[in-house]
Structures are given as structure tokens and as C-alpha cells.
């Protein structure tokens, strides 16, 4: 493969952005890329990025599948808030918050609630036929209210060693949160590429009526992806609430749906549905997380943060767009001698 072909790959520019952000951070703060062993686990900028991107990656993975079916799920942030609220209020209310059984039970309850939200979303989209953006808007707005009611409008704080492990723990020297995300990524990849689920999702996303006539259970598949999306958002909610050991219903996962959609798009999955790329979503999540972290490292002035973020995202999206790529290629080609039209 020549250089041109590499540059045309849809993940080329996102990866360039990722490298540039890392290099810039490392230039500003040379210690940034150093990975050291501290208290028996790895510590350093790259480890931080992995751990931090786990939340976004989880949400974006579910979002990828939903978007592949021509859908969108705006309720993921609210589901995160609900997951944290249910789990932590149950742990806080239990007599033994530090017990592993308490934590597992609380997480199971939260997962059940999140799955119910996913089933509800999927029902509205696949069965009732409401447009996904409208259907999921219901829980996007109402979900936080539910989480607030569960926590009684307070930030529920708990002390529970097993729960804290989710976000702050390490296993084999690696952050547990990153391992969870990696595991879910692996399972999703297996589920979609080792079974026929992936190609059926794509088929439904590209042409729903043709897929139905081909015998594909389009309805079931669409329903399933919303449930999967909610489940992944729930796990993300665990990590987020474990991170601060508090259920902050107002802020947990606030606006993460936008970041997730962005990660999916940067990863090369079209919002029009169809072909999706999990690897692309992984890269997209890393880019966005690194971007957020590098803002602190680079010391971007507070007032310029939004602008800086927007500029990086716009640059990546523009460079990726087929139109711009085409223009850049034809400009290069124009230099080469081409047969010119002969006047008649």
C-alpha cells in the first residue's frame, strides 16, 4: 500500500490528530508520556487516557450499533445517571456498603433498570415506529428527573471498597475501568463479527425494507441494539459514579451522547446507517478523551476551551470528508500532465 492509500484510509486523520495531541502534550509536559510503576500498578498519561476513555468508549460502542441501524440514542447520558443513582442509593441504604454481595446486587438492580429503559426505547422505535431521535429524547429529558427522584435530589455519596475498584482499581497493573471497556469491546466485536449480527445490523441499516423482504427480523434487531446500547451506558454509569464515589444525577454523563455520536462519526460510521466500524469508534473515543485531557495539560485558557475543542473536531471531520479528500487528490493530480481537450 502506498502513502496515498494510507492517507485515504478513513482513520488516517483521526490517528494523526491523536498523535499530534499526544506529542503536543508531551512537549509541554515531558513527563506526560512516561509510564511508571507506582504502588504496584502503572501510572502515567497514557494509562490515564485509557482509563478515562473507558466511559466514552462504552457509550460510543452501543451508539455505533444503534447508528448502524439508522437510529440514534440520545438517552445514554440519562441512563448513566440512572445507573449510578440506582446502584449507589441501594449501596448507601444497605447495612453493609463494603460487602461485595451488596455491590453486585446493587449493580444487578441498576442493570435491570437500564435494560428496561433500553427495552422501552427499542419498543418505541422498532414497534411503534417513532423516529429514534424523538423516541430517545423522552428518556434524555425524563431520565435525569428519575435519577434525581431516586437520589432525592442530593448527591449520594458512599464509601464502598468493591465499588470503588470499578473506576480506581487496578488488575495486573492495569486500570480496571480500561479492562472492563476492553472486555466489552472484545465481546461486541465477537458478537457482531463472529456471528451474523453485524452483517444483519448493517443490512437493516442500509435498506430496511429490502432486509425485511429478505427475511431478516429487522424489528428484533433494531430492538436489540437499543437494549445493548442501554446496557453499555449502564456500565459506563457504574464507572462514572465509581470514579467520584457519588451519584451526581445532574452531571453524570451530561452531554455524553454528543461526544459519543462524535466518536462514532470520527470513527467512520455514517449517521445514515449501514457499515459500521468498532475499531473506528475506539479511535474516535481515544481522540476525544485525549483532546479533553490535553486541554488541561496544554493549559488552554478557560475561555478558549470550547473553541479549541471545536477547531480540532472540525479539522478532523473536514479532512475525513470525501469531498475534501477528492479535492486534495484532484489538485495533486492536476499537476501531472493530462490530455487537454482539442478545440474543434
Amino acid at each position: 500500500m502506498n502513502l496515498g492509500a494510507i492517507a485515504r484510509h478513513r482513520l488516517f486523520w483521526p490517528l494523526v490528530a491523536l498523535v499530534l495531541l499526544l506529542v503536543a502534550s508531551a512537549l509541554k509536559s515531558p513527563a506526560f508520556l512516561e509510564v511508571t510503576v507506582r504502588d504496584g500498578h502503572l501510572f502515567g498519561g497514557p494509562v490515564d487516557i485509557l482509563r478515562r476513555s473507558s466511559v466514552l468508549l462504552l457509550v460510543a460502542l452501543g451508539m455505533t450499533l444503534v447508528i448502524a441501524t439508522r437510529g440514534i440514542d440520545l438517552s445514554v447520558g440519562a441512563v448513566m445517571a440512572i445507573a449510578g443513582a440506582v446502584a449507589l442509593s441501594q449501596i448507601a441504604a444497605s447495612p453493609d456498603p463494603g460487602a461485595l454481595s451488596t455491590v453486585l446486587l446493587a449493580m444487578a438492580t441498576a442493570l435491570a433498570v437500564a435494560l428496561a429503559v433500553g427495552v422501552f426505547n427499542g419498543f418505541l422505535v422498532a414497534v411503534v415506529g417513532i423516529q429514534p431521535i424523538v423516541a430517545t429524547l423522552i428518556f434524555m429529558t425524563a431520565g435525569r428527573g428519575i435519577a434525581m427522584l431516586i437520589t432525592g435530589g442530593q448527591i449520594t455519596t458512599v464509601t464502598s471498597a468493591p465499588y470503588k475498584t470499578i473506576a480506581s482499581g487496578y488488575w495486573l497493573g492495569l486500570p480496571v475501568a480500561a479492562l472492563i471497556a476492553a472486555f466489552v469491546f472484545g465481546v461486541t466485536a465477537l458478537l457482531t463479527r463472529r456471528t451474523a449480527l453485524g452483517v444483519l445490523i448493517e443490512s437493516v441499516g442500509i435498506n430496511p425494507s429490502a432486509s425485511r423482504l429478505a427475511g431478516v427480523r429487522a424489528r428484533t434487531i433494531i430492538w436489540t441494539v437499543y437494549v445493548i446500547c442501554a446496557a453499555f451506558a449502564c456500565i459506563a454509569g457504574f464507572i462514572k459514579s465509581s470514579d467520584i464515589m457519588a451519584a451526581d444525577s445532574n452531571n453524570a454523563g451530561l452531554f455524553i451522547e454528543l461526544d459519543a455520536i462524535l466518536a462514532v462519526v470520527i470513527g467512520g460510521t455514517s449517521l445514515a446507517g449501514g457499515k459500521f466500524s468498532l475499531t473506528g469508534t475506539l479511535v474516535g473515543s481515544l481522540v476525544i478523551t485525549t483532546l479533553t485531557l490535553s486541554i488541561t495539560i496544554l493549559g488552554i485558557p478557560v475561555n478558549a476551551v470550547s473553541l479549541f475543542k471545536a477547531l480540532v473536531v472540525i479539522a478532523v471531520c473536514l479532512l475525513q470528508s470525501p469531498v475534501v479528500q477528492h479535492r486534495m487528490r484532484s489538485r495533486r493530480r492536476r499537476v501531472a500532465p493530462v490530455p487537454v481537450e482539442v478545440p474543434a
Partner: protein, 336 residues
């Protein structure tokens, strides 16, 4: 296992939240509103109708503030409170104030999300002859006739008191300070930064090496602090504009294998329960209180105005300051 109460509660929540989310698109998505939105109009017998627009529920401090107002402005005390949560968005807040004007409430009170951009809507309130009371946060309007009074803490003073304590107790040798700012553009963020800078200006030992917004939330406080720890290996002091960001910073510092309160000192403002607990445990070193219990003061002001009296254009609430010993002593009796 799902308990019966929990299930009922969640169910009620779903219904309530759905109704809210669908009926009032964007005006209030949280189920926090305590008053019936349907009963409009300022004509409710002898009760004084007060429309209150809260910033949001971004922190423990705000939750205590909300509770104090809701507990004071009750029907028993002669008030009909219309409460709305702006979810930290100015547009929501302007919308809420407009709807209060339309309903013809007797008084409007609100904590502005940001300082600027209020002239138009406050002018509308003035035209409608509805007195406006600012609580907790100020606006930057030149025209002070747009509101009756501003009741709340003096944020510059709070920053100054923190700055003085840092300068006197820690600034005896060269120290590197990182600052976790509040929401960009909000009055407490601007003023607390200003006060701290004023107080430490004279001490060459105190050096602010980085400043970034943590949006007053625990999660963002933690994220930003993690970045600081990566970028600056020699941080001595964290100055957090509120306790929640300070609590987030504690998590980040512990994750980095350092001891909060010892390796890296933490000072913050607010004095909420979680913050005070951390202070008594020695994880935070100094807290300047910012009293959230504005309810009784607000009620007094309204009553005074209602009986034809006048109030000062600026009413500063009394704030305490705590170190570890004071916090431990105060904790058992704290209301929030």
C-alpha cells in the same frame, strides 16, 4: 432485589418525569420542581406568590440552598412558591423568569447562572412592576434599579480569606498553586479567583501555576486535577472554588499515589457536609463557608418589601471559616 417502595417510587418518577419532559419542553426536565406548574397567576388569596429560578442542582451546596428556600417559603409562612430548575442554562432561566412575569407573580427571586445578559428580561420584570431579588450570585447590570437587592455571600471576600490563609500558613516558603475554577463566566468563579489573586499578590512565594474550569462538579474537578497531576509534577496547593471540585481533586490525588492534605494541600469554599467531613479527616486543609441557608433572609426581605419597607441594595450573609479542629467541632450540629 427491588423493594416495593423503590418500585413505586420509580414508577411515580417515570410518570411525573414523562409528563414534565413532554409538557414543558426544556423548561424543566428534572423532577425537582415542588410546585404545581398548572396553577398559575399571582392571585392566590393572602399568599405572596414568589417565582424562584434556581441555577440547577450541580452541587451539595446548591441542594442545601434549594432545600432552605423550599422549606422557608411555604404556604404556612404565607408564601406560594413557584420553583424551577434552570439546569445551569441561562436560556432556561430567562424562559422561567418570563413565564413568572406572564403569570403575574408578586416577586421574582433567582440565582443567575452567569453574570451578564440579564438587562432585557429584568427590564420586562420592571415594566410589569414585579420586584426582583438576586440571591447568591450577582448580575453585571449597570442599572441597579432593575433589582431590589442582592442577598448572598461576598465571593471576592471568600476568595480573599482563602488567599490570606494560604499566604499566611503555607506561603512561608515557595509554593505552587493550581486553581479549579467554577463555571466559566459565573460570578463566584470570577470573584473567588479575583479575591484569591488580590490576597496573594503581595506574597512572592505563592505562585498560581495553572487554572482550569471544573464546572463546580466533582467529576470534572477530578478530571482536571488528573490532568494537572500529569502536567505539573510539583503541585503544593489546590485551590478549589467549591468543595465538590475539591472532593474530586482528593480522588485524583489519591489515585496518583499521593496523600491529600499532606503531600498536596487543599483549600476550598462552601462548607457542605462532605467537604466538612473531608476537612475533619484532614484531607482538606481549610474551608471558607459560603452560607447556603438563604431562605429565612429571603423571606424577611420579601415580607419587608410587602409591608412597604425598603431594603439595602446589598445584603451580605455571614460566613464562617473552618480549619480541621473547627470542622470536627461543628460537624455534629451542621444543618447541611
Amino acid at each position: 432485589m427491588v423493594s416495593r417502595t423503590f418500585r413505586t417510587r420509580a414508577m411515580a418518577a417515570t410518570v411525573a418525569a414523562l409528563a414534565l419532559g413532554l409538557a414543558a419542553c426544556g423548561s424543566s426536565g428534572s423532577g425537582d420542581s415542588s410546585t404545581d406548574a398548572a396553577s398559575g397567576g399571582g392571585d392566590s388569596g393572602d399568599l405572596i406568590t414568589v417565582g424562584f429560578s434556581q441555577v440547577g442542582a450541580e452541587s451539595g451546596w446548591r441542594a442545601a440552598n434549594t432545600k432552605s428556600i423550599q422549606d422557608t417559603l411555604t404556604k404556612d409562612n404565607g408564601f406560594d412558591l413557584k420553583f424551577s430548575d434552570a439546569q445551569q442554562k441561562q436560556e432556561n432561566q430567562i424562559q422561567a423568569i418570563r413565564s413568572y412575569i406572564a403569570q403575574g407573580v408578586d416577586y421574582i427571586a433567582f440565582s443567575p447562572v452567569v453574570e451578564s445578559g440579564w438587562d432585557a428580561v429584568l427590564e420586562e420584570a420592571k415594566q410589569a412592576n414585579i420586584p426582583v431579588i438576586l440571591t447568591d450570585r450577582a448580575v453585571d447590570s449597570e442599572d441597579t434599579s432593575l433589582y431590589k437587592t442582592f442577598i448572598g455571600s461576598d465571593f471576592v471576600e471568600e476568595g480573599k480569606r482563602i488567599g490570606e490563609w494560604v499566604s499566611d500558613n503555607l506561603g512561608t516558603e515557595p509554593i505552587n498553586v493550581v486553581e479549579l475554577q467554577g463555571t466559566t463566566g459565573s460570578a463566584p468563579a470570577i470573584d473567588r479567583k479575583q479575591g484569591f489573586e488580590d490576597a496573594t499578590k503581595g506574597n512572592p512565594n505563592v505562585k498560581i501555576i495553572a487554572s482550569q474550569t471544573g464546572n463546580f462538579t466533582r467529576a470534572e474537578g477530578k478530571t482536571v486535577m488528573e490532568g494537572f497531576l500529569q502536567a505539573y509534577p510539583d503541585i503544593d496547593v489546590v485551590y478549589a472554588h467549591n468543595d465538590d471540585m475539591g472532593l474530586g481533586a482528593i480522588e485524583a490525588i489519591e489515585a496518583a499515589g499521593k496523600v491529600p492534605g499532606k503531600d498536596i494541600k487543599i483549600v476550598s469554599i462552601d462548607g457542605v457536609k462532605d467537604g466538612m467531613t473531608a476537612l475533619s479527616e484532614g484531607k482538606i486543609n481549610y474551608i471558607v463557608e459560603c452560607n447556603p441557608l438563604l431562605g429565612p433572609d429571603l423571606a424577611d426581605i420579601i415580607k419587608t418589601l410587602q409591608s412597604g419597607g425598603t431594603v439595602e441594595p446589598r445584603i451580605v450573609t455571614h460566613d464562617d471559616a473552618f480549619d480541621q479542629a473547627a470542622a470536627t467541632a461543628a460537624l455534629p450540629t451542621r444543618q447541611y
